[in-house]
Symmetry: C2
Subunit: 142 residues, 2 copies
DNA sequence: CTAAATAGTACTTATTCAGTACCAATTTAA
DNA sequence: TTAAATTGGTACTGAATAAGTACTATTTAG
């Protein structure tokens, strides 16, 4: 089964529990809210910060806070932050990842399919996932 | 990185090397054509057969052959055959897989996104991947 | 019968994932 | 100024999955 990692799923829970420009939330607090273990939450927060999705403040009464609103954060942003993105084949992401790229007869096709999926992931935001009213439809045009 | 397994990628190579209603091709022959190891090819063929994508004939001058044409086999068919499919979250595939499904606030949203990706995978066939002329585009409608 | 080929199972190894632990650096607040 | 709170970073462990290998039984053509 191709699926996102648990850590990525947890990352969504953490983002849901955060707010932009609010008082910083500590890893401990977020852990209690989400029901996850503190070290796990901490690991996620570090990854999200490295990706620029949130900022932190050290020291007493410090913590983490979003730098974007939830509708400005795409599903793809989170996946990239936690596990480096999504691409069906190695070459779709990085041409030098597979030495067969030049000669492979399916590399080009896979890249296209991958782009379709990428578009889908980029078009959906964190707040969309909570929004029952937004309809998400797809059309493949020949 | 979320990606398909190597075995799935190899499965495409094997399917490319097969033809419908042709003389059965042995695992050994397919291995030499694709450059993969025979046991690996054999494993793939068994999985593809179990999924109904091809049939086999035992004994001398036996082998495997497709029961569908390449434009009738979707990308999703292959992914399902080899690794059981693709779904971002556990619940998107099977409601009983995660005990949080009933209460989870993102389960519904994830299912929608998953459906978009699934549509993409079902809309592309094995022959499309080789067809440079087919344009694959996506539109998300709000 | 014999050779060729699939069918099925079971095993080993490598890699990735998930979770845990520890301590240094920083900042607030008393 | 001191102590407590909190991030930052690294490193480790165990579990799960993936990838590859090996072996043997069964079936069929000639
Ligand atoms: S070039 Fe071909 S074999 Fe290599 S990663 Fe891309 S699709 Fe796979
Ligand atoms: S119900 Fe929620 S927590 Fe469970 S698999 Fe689905 S999205 Fe993840």
């Amino acid at each position: 089964m191709i699926k996102m990692s648990k850590l990525t799923e947890y990352a969504f829970m953490v983002i849901m529990a955060l707010k932009k420009s609010d008082l910083p939330a500590s890893a401990d607090y977020l852990a209690s809210v989400t029901g996850l273990e503190t070290p796990t939450v901490s690991k996620i927060l570090k990854l999200l910060k490295k990706a620029g999705l949130l900022e932190s403040k050290r020291g007493s009464s410090g913590g983490y806070f979003l730098v974007k609103r939830k509708h400005e954060i795409s599903l793809n942003d989170v996946i990239v932050a936690i596990e480096g993105g999504m691409s069906l084949t190695e070459c779709a992401e990085d041409d030098s990842a597979c030495h067969l790229t030049q000669s492979c007869y399916m590399s080009a096709g896979m890249k296209k399919v991958n782009q379709v999926i990428l578009n889908a992931l980029q078009s959906v935001t964190v707040s969309d996932i909570l929004d029952e009213k937004k309809k998400i439809t797809l059309q493949i045009k020949p």
